[in-house]
Amino acid sequence: MQVPAPFEYERATSVDQAIGLLDRLGDTARLVAGGHSLLPMMKLRLANFEYLIDINDLSDVLGYITVEPTQIRIGAMARHRELLESAELGRAFPIFADAEKVIADPVVRNRGTLGGSLCQADPSEDLSAVCTTLNASCVIRGRDGDRVVTMEEFHRGPYETAVGDAEMLTEVRFPLRPNGASAYEKVERRAGDWAVVSSGAAVWLDGDVIADARVGLAAVGPNTAGLPEISAMLTGQRPSEELYEQAGIIAARSCNPVTDMRGSEEYKRHLAKELTRRALRRSVNRINEGS
């Protein structure tokens, strides 16, 4: 079995202590939470670090899902399983449960965290697409305190984030608005595989008119991407199959998939369209079922 190169290990006892360690050790150190992205890469020696700082003991302080009147705040150490099983989160954002059901497998979901998923910045990563769709913002803490960035700012490219060497993602915030619903659609070759393409949608209605709508795609570009053009097109319209179709066409046109073992570029564009259509339809149906 592949094994990682040598490194030193420290357990963080607090967020500030972890940041202090990062500050001292610089880019030779890396935080490890669930470890399900980092450790396989280190085993295959695609990534090597001199220090690993284990933040699993911070689960108690960073594992929260807090619902407030205007937003939901989720700690970076919230694990996939907790996100899947949270009834409050599921009510506000059904997209989470849709996505979590198809992220890796149940055993991996026991360990993997929201923060770890986002910091991996994999273009195919499902929770990144969810956060993009929900217009989340990320709280990054450093020595000098917190700063808050949008998802667009957070992901700077494949496997690259805005989190500095002496910083740590601590929280993700999701704005809450009334009369909305969301959904996630993913095509994978097999359970547990990365997405061929996936599409998240969130829709808010004002009466029978779309007040706002957002679509986020995964696996069709350098990062999971939101599509403002779709939002602009949908806003103020009445939901309809024709509208979903148009949104799908924009999604297919706006993404940048590449042919690989998961599928051809043509197929991925087709999926961007089809899954966007399905995610929008399902979101609207959920609003109507809920009201």
Binding site: M1, V187, R189, A191, G263, H270
Partner: protein, 797 residues
């Protein structure tokens, strides 16, 4: 009609009235395995044991210019670093493959596939051994790789096998079977000819336990003990004797619990030889266990046949002839594990289960810059490819003739009175009764109802497919007049000893990798000798403690070794009869056997049990004249023919018209493997093979990019079905005993792997009928299904 009376050999008729023998018996191997007390190769810990890691080629084709091992040698925990040049000095840099080719143990001149062994390190622990690989500096001169098999024979292609004298191209071998002229004549006169290009892509058996070995050389005794993941311990021992020049009686190969084999653990891999060299040079036990990438990129792959198939028929659907031309990709070394006279394995049975007039196949095999192998993954020596070809062709014919695919098969299946049947390519099918098997599958499936449902769904634009496949297998290699591996005849020995108290031990030359031999072989012996299976221990997988034989692959254990077990028990029983005649003071002719005891004819009160006889055989007092003490026997069984199990499979799929995702809704498998020993184990073998078939049809492929980089080198990329991709299997059976096997049994281990891929693909293609799809190649991933729906089905390679 098939019936027990048809059997030449009797002895099982009263089975269901007797407690011992065959039937659903729980497995004897399970108590240790469910406790985590199995003993797999990597579980072994020996005093002073060192760990070996192998450095592999990063490129598909390159000249090895220089290997600098000085930094690795300086690592404080490293004991030994060995390169190809160092092995060459000892004459060990090359070893024979099972197909009479040679393969590099460590590269000397060139690397010929990505993942090829270049050097190895032996260190105090596995982490340090892995670290030291990073310290070896290899200078390569990159060469143009041969990746596209269709261009391997182009004059402009670089020559891969420059190690072979006078080699000027990448040609591996040519092979033909059948009657070309007769076949051409039938084709020329036929109403209908259907031609299709059919690719069976490269796949990998990927057992959950990777390959590995622990070598322990005792320099004082000159004795090598090798624990290794081998399906064929005796054959391996002989080959090590030949390769390493060690005397055969000083080599002991032990194959402990094996975590799945599926053919992957038949060949000898360079890693085993490296472990042996490592132990020879360090004087300490050396463990090598490959990681998953090494398993997927360097060990025996399977398939990789590019086939053009043609089928000739009358316009009302009578199949007349089959013709095929095959381009076979054998990778960098011909490492196929098949009987020597069968370079294409048993692909010659491609005429399938049908009554036809003529058949012909011509094949060209080539070298490419890919891993060696070819026969692996539960294929019955390439019958997977053969059955896939014919069963796809029959469906293509049904498509063109607008006939129902089940009806077309029923119209052409061999009839019971034709058996034993000699096929147009010379295979003698021992027994078969095909139509009842097909009808049974259709009954369980509710075939007509399914077709009605499909018609309704098509009206609504829903895509439902029903796939039918019928297969005939040829397993149990094989008669030694025809079949050998590197000169070793494919017979199997078996030894049975009855201890004084009537308990027994049976020793086998075959080796289980999960098939439950410790259970089923006890049952076979129990049936013949009347000792309860619980009182019979099965010893296997240790060359010092078992008789010689060729091992477990190609579904040969029950057909060959199972026959040996039955016959050795009968041999012991005949000796017991003589002893019983002395005990009961009657002639042997006056004794009747009653499974477990002899009694005097007509007088059930005068009897002796096998246990009484065992004690007498070992005890005090005289035995009848000419009878030696003891109660044991050994035989070597040479099968007179292969056995030919068959089956009918029906698969039902639903395809999402928007995303092209395939869902396997139902799978019905009706198998006929002759006399059944343990139905629970048979069902398990079939379930596993069906899952393989779904895997190959939907997702499994070892692909390469244009530089020869393997794109299936981890389980993230080489997808294997999980519990969510497969349905709850529906199985049924018919029983047509083998006329030449002592208990009428046939092999079953690979039937489902052979029969299920065409059933799944036929179902998907059937679902896509509204799009005018007649054929689409595996793996039918959503993207490839979508391509087919757009009229753009493409071969995977």
């Amino acid at each position: 009609m098939t019936a027990v009376e048809d059997r030449k050999v009797t002895g099982f008729e009263d089975n269901d009235r007797k407690p011992v023998g065959h039937g659903r018996m729980l497995r004897k191997e399970d108590p240790r395995l469910i406790r985590g007390k199995g003993r797999f190769v990597d579980d072994l810990q020996l005093n002073g044991m060192l760990h070996l890691a192998i450095l592999r080629s990063p490129m598909a084709h390159g000249r090895v210019v220089n290997v600098d091992i000085s930094a690795a040698q300086a690592h404080p925990k490293v004991k030994l670093v060995v390169t190809g040049a160092m092995l060459a000095e000892k004459g060990l840099a090359w070893m024979p493959t099972l197909s009479n080719d040679v393969q590099a143990v460590l590269a000397t001149d060139k690397v010929r596939f990505q993942g090829q062994e270049v050097a190895f390190v032996v260190a105090e622990d596995r982490y340090s051994a892995r670290d030291a690989l990073e310290l070896i500096d290899v200078e390569y001169e990159q060469l143009e790789p041969v990746v596209d098999v269709r261009r391997a024979l182009d004059p402009s292609s670089p020559v891969i096998r420059t190690d072979l004298d006078g080699k000027t191209d990448n040609h591996c071998f040519d092979w033909q079977t059948g009657d070309e002229a007769a076949t051409d004549a039938v084709f020329a006169a036929a109403d209908v000819i259907v031609t299709e290009d059919i690719v069976y892509p490269r796949v990998h058996p990927a057992p959950m336990e990777t390959c590995g070995a622990v070598a322990d050389y005792d320099a004082v005794e000159g004795r090598l003990t090798l624990w290794s993941t081998t399906q064929a311990p005796h054959a391996h021992r002989t080959l090590y004797a030949i390769v390493a020049g060690l005397p055969e009686h000083k080599i002991r190969v032990i194959s402990p619990d094996i975590g799945g084999g599926f053919g992957n653990k038949v060949p000898i891999y360079p890693g085993y030889v490296c472990a042996i060299v490592g132990s020879l040079l360090t004087g300490r036990p050396v463990k090598w266990v490959e990681d998953r990438s090494e398993n997927l990129t360097s060990t025996g792959f399977a398939r990789d046949y590019i086939m053009r198939g043609e089928i000739a028929a009358t316009k009302d659907g009578k199949i007349l002839a089959i013709r095929t031309n095959v381009l076979a990709d054998h990778g960098a070394f011909n490492g196929t594990a098949a009987p020597v006279k069968y370079p294409a394995g048993f692909f010659g049975v491609f005429t399938g289960s049908y009554d036809i007039e003529a058949a012909y196949c011509s094949m060209t095999a080539v070298y490419t810059n890919k891993a060696p192998g070819g026969v692996a993954y539960a294929c019955s020596f390439r019958i997977t490819e053969a059955v896939y070809l014919i069963e796809r062709l029959v469906d293509c014919l049904a498509y063109d003739l607008k006939m129902d695919s089940a009806e077309l098969r029923l119209k052409n299946l061999l009839r019971p009175e034709q058996f034993p049947y000699t096929s147009k390519t010379g295979w003698i099918y021992d027994s078969g009764n095909y139509e009842p098997t097909m009808r049974e599958a259709m009954r369980i499936a509710g075939y007509d109802e399914l077709r009605r449902e499909q018609a309704e769904k098509r009206q609504r634009g829903e895509l439902m497919g029903i796939g039918v496949a019928f297969f005939t297998e040829a397993v149990g290699a094989g008669p030694r007049k025809d079949m050998d591996i590197l000169g070793l005849g494919m017979a199997d020995g078996c030894e049975l000893r009855i201890h004084p108290t009537g308990k027994a031990v049976v020793r086998l030359s075959v080796q289980s990798q999960g098939q439950g031999h410790e259970t089923t072989f006890a049952q076979i012996v129990a049936e013949e000798i009347g000792i309860p299976p619980a009182d019979i221990d099965v010893v296997h997988g240790d060359t010092d403690n078992t008789p010689f034989g060729l091992g477990t692959y190609g579904s040969r254990s029950t057909p060959v070794s199972g026959a040996a077990a039955a016959l050795v028990a009968r041999k012991v029983r005949e000796k017991a009869r003589i002893i019983a005649s002395g005990m009961l003071e009657v002639s042997v002719a006056d004794l009747d056997w009653d499974k477990g005891s002899f009694h005097v004819k007509g007088d059930l009160t005068k009897s002796v049990t096998i246990q009484d006889i065992a004690m007498k055989a070992h005890g005090a007092g005289d035995l009848p004249d000419g009878v030696e003490g003891g109660l044991e026997a050994q035989i070597c069984y040479n099968p007179e023919n292969l056995t030919y199990p068959h089956g009918a499979y029906i698969c039902v799929v639903d395809v999402d018209p928007g995303t092209a995702q395939v869902s396997v809704r139902r799978f019905i498998a009706v198998d006929d493997c002759g006399t059944r020993i343990n139905p629970m184990i048979i069902e398990g073998q079939i379930h596993g093979g069906l899952t393989d078939g779904v895997g190959m049809a939907l997702m499994e492929i070892i692909a390469f990019d244009e530089d020869g980089n393997c794109l299936g080198g981890s389980l993230m990329d080489y997808l294997i079905p999980t519990a969510l991709e497969v349905p709850d299997w529906e199985t049924g059976f018919t029983v047509t005993p083998s006329p030449h096997h002592p208990i009428g049994a046939k092999g079953v281990g690979e039937s489902a792997t052979v029969g299920s891929p065409p059933a799944v693909v036929n179902a998907i293609v059937d679902a896509l009928k509204p799009f005018g799809v007649r054929h689409a190649d595996m793996p039918l991933t959503p993207s490839r299904v979508w391509d087919a729906m757009q009229g753009n089905a493409r071969p995977p390679v």
